[in-house]
């Protein structure tokens, strides 16, 4: 189909403009590759990431260091092996709940019932195992499945009936707490077997020093091999990859942190079983989120419901499943919390547990707006919150101060989240 001369001219102009764009893009391509190459100038990467709103876990890691330095300077027992070891067990209960919250936040939803569900799971376990005489293992499984079921019910009302998650889970917050009080009955507190399975969850330590060091070495080696394998596959496929120097650097940092942690833990009682389970959960669910089609569905849904729907994604099913994950993790967290105090009582799952679990996810870097976050933010966030709680308790000051500090940290985290979101929007390229 021939064209008139004017049209050709127009097209040529278009092509020239296109050429200019291409050249500009190439420059950026080079700049991007340079920044991606990393090793040369880490400050550049940080700057680029800051401007494009991809700071990840850098702010919270820095925040944690600051918190630790401050409390250590105020009380020298803060960084003692004993306190740090206790801290590593204390974080597991709220941390497990917070992982579930991360899943829900990734959808851009909220789950206010996690505190009550965790308390209910502890109560269900205690009633079944102590009052009904059921062996601990099936009682534990039933308690966890109860959490899953609750999540499914709440997810159903959100996804199929269309009730906002805030309202459904607010009803859950009240309702499940009521159910817990009801099944606990008149006594109010049920002590669980101090040598039982659930009690062991947080009281068992691998006292052999090889356990902690072995885990640190194994984790580091696995990380390195996975990264190395990734680079080799990417090289073979001819797609850009991280330079080996960056992988070595990352592995080195991970090795230093994990070996230091192992050393500290071995100074006290060794590797806590609870921490091991928590780490396995974190790694496993992180893998699910980032490496499986299911995880990709969650991120897609958190990014744009309409775009997800148009690609044929079953929106209701993903929503319900995510609330099931949240309910399950809440129940597991509740059992760890019950294990810590070897009882289920009327205050189980109460207090500021709910707020801590949500705040931990957000402080750790999971966005409240959906679509951005990692399970590791649960670990980092809960470390910050529990560190503050532990530091304040060590110094013998009121919890009032703890609330104020935690509130301030949460505000900072949300501000960073909002700013990085804005930076990402504003950072249009070309």
């Amino acid at each position: 189909m021939s064209r008139t001369w004017t049209l050709r001219k127009q097209k040529q102009a278009g092509a020239q403009a296109g050429g200019a764009v291409t050249a500009a893009d190439r420059r950026q391509l080079a700049a991007g590759a340079g920044a991606g190459a990393g090793g040369q100038n880490p400050l550049e990467i940080l700057k680029r990431r800051f401007h494009s709103g991809e700071l990840g876990s850098v702010p919270v890691a820095l925040g944690l260091v600051v918190v630790w330095i401050i409390f250590e300077s105020l009380n020298e027992n803060f960084l003692s092996p004993r306190n740090l070891s206790n801290l590593s067990v204390d974080i597991v209960g709220p941390g497990m709940i917070s992982i579930g919250v991360v899943f829900v936040l990734l959808l851009g939803e909220i789950d206010l019932s996690v505190g009550s569900v965790s308390g209910l799971a502890a109560a269900v376990f205690a009633v079944l195992s102590v009052n009904q005489g059921m062996p601990e293992a099936p009682a534990l499984v039933l308690a966890v499945l109860g959490g899953t079921l609750i999540g499914a019910v709440q997810g159903f009302f959100l996804a199929k009936v269309g009730v906002p998650a805030f309202v459904v889970t607010l009803a859950g917050l009240l309702g499940w707490n009521g159910l817990m009080l009801y099944i606990l009955g008149a006594s109010g507190t049920i002590n669980i077997d101090e040598n039982g399975l659930v009690a062991k969850l947080t009281s068992y330590y691998f006292t052999n020093v090889a356990a902690a060091y072995g885990l640190a070495a194994l984790g580091t080696a696995a990380f390195f091999l996975a990264s190395y394998h990734g680079v080799r596959r990417r090289r073979a496929a001819g797609v850009p990859c991280r330079p080996m120097s960056e992988i070595v650097l990352r592995t080195g940092v991970l090795a230093a942190i994990s070996l230091a942690a192992a050393w500290v833990l071995n100074q006290f009682l060794g590797l806590p079983l609870a921490l091991l389970i928590f780490l396995v959960m974190l790694v496993g669910l992180d893998y699910v989120l980032r490496r499986t089609p299911y995880g990709r569905m969650i991120f897609a849904l958190g990014g744009s419901v309409e775009a997800s729907r148009r690609t044929g994604l079953n929106v209701s099913l993903v929503r319900i499943s995510v609330f099931m994950v949240s309910g399950t993790m809440a129940a597991i967290g509740g059992l760890f919390l019950a294990s810590r105090v070897t009882s289920a009582s009327q205050t189980s799952g109460g207090g500021n547990l709910l707020m801590d679990a949500i705040a931990a996810a957000v402080i750790g870097g999971t966005s409240l707006f959906g679509g951005r976050g990692r399970t590791w933010s649960a670990l980092l966030g809960v470390l910050v919150i529990q560190s503050i709680a532990s530091g304040v308790a060590l110094m013998g000051i009121q919890t009032a101060v703890q609330f104020m500090i935690t509130g301030g940290v949460l505000l900072v985290a949300v501000v960073i989240d909002s700013l990085s979101r804005r930076a990402q929007r504003a950072h249009g390229r070309v």
């Binding site: 893009d25 709103g53 496929a237 990014g303 249009g428 070309v430």
Partner: protein, 266 residues
Amino acid sequence: MESGASVRRPPSPPLLALRGVFKRFGAVQALADVELEVRAGQVVALVGDNGAGKSTLIKVIAGVDPADEGAVEWDGRPVQITRPHEAQALGIATVYQDLALCDNLDVVGNLFLGREIHRAGVLDEVEMERLTLDLLDTLAIRMPDVRLPVASLSGGQRQTVAISRSLLGEPRLVLLDEPTAALGIEQTAQVLDLVEQLRERGLGVLLISHNMGDVKAVADWIAVLRLGRNNGFFDVTTTSHEQIISSITGATDNAVTRRASQGWGA
């Protein structure tokens, strides 16, 4: 300038042909007796004033809002398109005006959204990235980094991501709803280049646009809709700007329209 001769006696049947399509929303007759043909390797621009029924027609073809009446022919065979996936199965890809991208996912993630490549239940990121780079390369698209969230891309780049995504399913017809709306000059040029790439690959393209400059730059044919009816089908090379504009605004009637109104009167 109806060049009916070359259209009505084709060497091969058109890729897509609509015959007498009607669509009504309550009291509003959105489409009335609309005819349209798109051939492989042809860019047809669908133009018309606001409310002329352009988007409605796209939705009919995409299976989002099926027609009340009328026949759809695909490769000369009559077909029914009542659901979006039926259109996709035929080889019709649609890029909507809102692009439907997930801002938080990177370019690779968006391209493969809903059709991720996985091995044993694990996403094969390397393979997806390789295919993405290949596809962008064949389309001569420059992307600063395919691992950047699309939120940080420019409007033109987002548009090219959305169009590239539609090509992954190897469609034969691509529907583009206002691909250059709200884009700058350079970004528009990028998108128009991409549209030409599609034609060179032998795909049929149906393009909605308000911008006559864009239309004249890339389209082979211009189909004008006015108040839900055909108001002309023009060869770009032989039609003046004024003719098209007057056809859009209704200053001139067209043979097709006359025929249609006669059909209605009867």
